[in-house]
Symmetry: C2
Subunit: 321 residues, 2 copies
């Protein structure tokens, strides 16, 4: 008996979710009752055709591993970086994937024989994190990875905003004399707590530069101590922006830097407490109690993509409307 | 024939809205079809009892002036600074009014003989501005007065957030070396573009210190030139925060500083354009095209309060639950 049989699956009942990152795809299979019944990771190809191939192959491999037929897939959702038109499933400027323009929903949908819905990866992760945590109310998902961005979820729905920049807190400047940002501004939150910006500022070789910075800071390296302070300061600034604009109840932190675990969480919490030390107003917000970290390796992004895939694509609503 | 008769009013049909400020109350009467059929301003009393008296007297004077009977008032809405529990109508810490704790909805309601709903003044103004402009979609109302705060309206509803700090962008720090803020932090947006902070930094006597700053800056005073730049820089930062977090389609600027009119609007727009000059990302947001100023003396806040008063009070929903 396969896992899928054990989960009581029959016919087209598996919702697949894929988080397509710069180096790997995280794929999950979700049963009708919302359980993750299979998961695997595979490398991502480079360029438009290879990305489509990677997605299709990941679904096939997931089906083999979790014991369901590819024809059991009732829907697929894909979270992917870059500019995503969630209505059409088109992806633009996903530079880390070598993608300039890709009609991902159409091309993957044709090959998979199932409807495909595509969403920005941070928004998908935000929805997945909200659902995994069972959080009602409002929540922001703050992604600390190479870059920094957030997704906002209210009452189980992604907050899309007017023009697709909801949660783009990484490019708010919090220091006019700060480091230059790739976006052309100075002192953006991302220059303080983005893994890419910290690695460039550190400038020494290493597979995990932010971990190296924390280790060197623990050993007393003054440059590392300053960069560590930047990391926590920048993440705390992002939390403040999210609470003092959208007023979300909780800020859940995810992304590659969560591999730092307790060291990251403790540092951000300390930065929030330090800010509250001098401000009764900030103290009244209890920000240090309103954050938590996703576990490293959380399937939130792929799970969120599966949920998005299961929703009716916008373009179907339009064509039947 | 009175104005009210002319508007085709009969029985209890007038919705009253009051914007209670530190020095004056702005009161409007709204007909069943949503037109403002009367308006007046009166001084605000100091302290709990005097605030209640001022509200009741303003409604009576409005009725006389607009030609309706006090018994025609079907509901009243009050926008007021301070911490407002919109469910109970209780106001806390309205320091500019001498109010520590005031059950304003109950006390004014008993005297007016009509249900009273109370809301934070910036949120009320945000709703009023959205309705006066007929804006669907999403909008932030950025209030530049003595202090700085915003209200967010989405699809005709006030965005309340989780704990009452939605839109509190005035106390986000955008410069760690900036001026000390009354909230205990440094470099808050309010220290750049709040009328109170600018007046303190300017430090010279005058009835309209921010206007004096602009005049002196036009005349070449270097200190005034720097403060003028702060004003526009801070307001531009607030616009960026609102668009890069909640992603509102438009930011409508109101509050006392709108008395500066075109000089204020042009300055903020220039600051947004200057920021976009060095950043393709910022250019893509077209922020300079997404702001506009309410006319000085706009009835937005009182009108919004009238709309809020006309909605069913939350506590009634609970008690009939």
């Amino acid at each position: 008996m396969t896992d899928a049989d054990a989960a009581g699956l029959d016919g087209r009942s598996i919702r697949v979710g894929l988080d397509v990152g710069g180096t790997k795809i995280d794929a999950v299979a979700v049963s009708p009752d919302g359980q993750i019944v299979g998961r695997l990771r595979r490398p991502t190809g480079w360029g438009e055709d290879a990305v489509v191939d990677s997605v299709v192959e990941a679904v096939a491999a997931l089906a083999r591993e979790a014991g369901f037929a590819p024809s059991d897939v009732v829907s697929a959702g894909i979270g992917i970086p870059g500019l995503v038109d969630s209505g059409t499933g088109r992806v633009l400027h996903a530079v880390n994937l070598g993608v300039e323009t890709l009609d991902l929903a159409d091309r993957a949908g044709d090959r998979l024989g199932a409807p495909v819905h595509v969403e920005n990866d941070v928004k998908a992760a935000a929805l997945g994190a909200a659902m995994l945590r069972g959080a009602g109310g409002s929540m922001a998902y703050l992604n600390l990875g190479t870059g920094v961005a957030a997704g906002i979820v209210v009452d189980g729905r992604i907050w899309r905003g007017a023009r697709g920049t909801a949660g783009e807190v990484g490019h708010l400047s919090v220091d006019p004399n700060g480091r230059a940002c790739g976006c052309g501004q100075r002192g953006c939150i991302e220059t303080f707590c983005g893994g890419g910006a910290l690695a460039r500022a550190w400038g020494r070789p290493g597979a995990l530069p932010v971990r190296d910075i924390l280790d060197a800071a623990d050993a007393g390296d003054p440059e590392a101590v300053a960069l560590r302070a930047d990391l926590f300061h920048g993440a705390a600034a992002a939390v403040r922006v999210l609470v003092l604009s959208a007023d979300v109840e909780r800020v859940v932190i995810g992304g590659g830097l969560t591999a730092l675990g307790e060291r990251l969480e403790r540092g951000i919490r300390s930065a929030l407490l330090a800010g509250a030390g001098s401000s009764a107003f900030m103290r009244s917000l209890h920000l240090d109690e309103r954050i938590d970290l996703l576990p490293a390796g959380s399937p939130a992004a792929a799970f969120g993509a599966a949920l998005i895939g299961a929703s009716v694509p916008s373009k179907e609503i339009v064509s039947h409307g």
